[in-house]
């Protein structure tokens, strides 16, 4: 399976500021995903990032708040803009391992970025 790293691993930010989270994969992948895990909650998909095209956002998430870049097949960034305390969450990057030639795709996750907004 792919090895995924995220930077930063954690951060404390002031409200109104923005934070960019980086996700790096050790192999080329087509699809990358960004999830949010609010305190005590399950994972919620924010958006799907396909290299060379605009990210696709889930209901309730907008590009102005969570702009995503996907410049190549091994890297993506998620920015959390104009932060408020409600943005305090773990943000996780995942990739879909398509080593089985398009079937049995499985998502693997990075270690997450723990964000606290004051």
């Amino acid at each position: 399976s792919a090895v995924i790293s995220q930077k930063p691993s954690r951060d404390i930010c002031q409200r109104g500021t923005s934070l960019t989270i980086q996700c790096q994969v050790d192999s080329q992948v087509t699809m990358m995903f960004w999830y949010r895990q609010q305190p005590g909650q399950s994972l919620t998909l924010i958006a799907t990032a396909n290299q060379g095209s605009e990210a696709t956002y889930e209901s309730g998430f907008v590009i102005d708040k969570f702009p995503i870049s996907r410049p190549n097949l091994t890297f993506s960034t998620l920015t959390v803009s104009n932060m408020s305390p409600e943005d305090s969450s773990i943000y996780l990057c995942s990739v879909e391992d398509q080593s089985f030639a398009g079937v049995e795709e499985t998502q693997y996750f990075g270690p997450g970025t723990r964000l606290l907004v004051l």
Binding site: L43, Q107, G110
Partner: protein, 116 residues
């Protein structure tokens, strides 16, 4: 739309005892099913997955899960729990979207506490 229910928010078991974590899903077709584990301060690690075939699936760390279509369930089991198994466990269901990738929906998780 698919959904996943994990009815147990928190479970406590004694070390060495058996474990079963419940998961029920709702999905119109044959689902792709997953169990992930999240240790404190860590990301998610895949324990096992079911796509088709044998309904009893073996995973890492001695875990197994059984797919029961008639009950829409995919319960996770381990015959003898170790203290290091204390973590949060997430069941998930996936479906392939028109773009060819999966939309994975996660349950709310079950926190496992292991006591000596």
């Amino acid at each position: 739309a698919q959904s996943v229910t994990q009815p147990d928010i928190h479970i406590t078991v004694s070390e060495g005892a058996s474990l079963e974590l419940r998961c029920n899903y709702s999905y119109g077709a044959t689902p792709y099913l997953f169990w992930y584990v999240q240790s404190p301060g860590q990301g998610l690690q895949l324990l096992l997955k079911y796509f088709s075939g044998d309904t009893l699936v073996q995973g890492i760390k001695g875990f197994e899960a059984e797919f029961k279509r008639s009950q829409s369930s995919f319960n996770l089991r381990k015959p003898s729990v170790h203290w290091s198994d204390a973590a949060e466990y997430f069941c998930a269901v996936g479906r392939v979207r028109s773009g060819g990738y999966q939309k994975v929906t996660f349950g709310t998780g079950t926190k496992l506490q292991v006591i000596p």
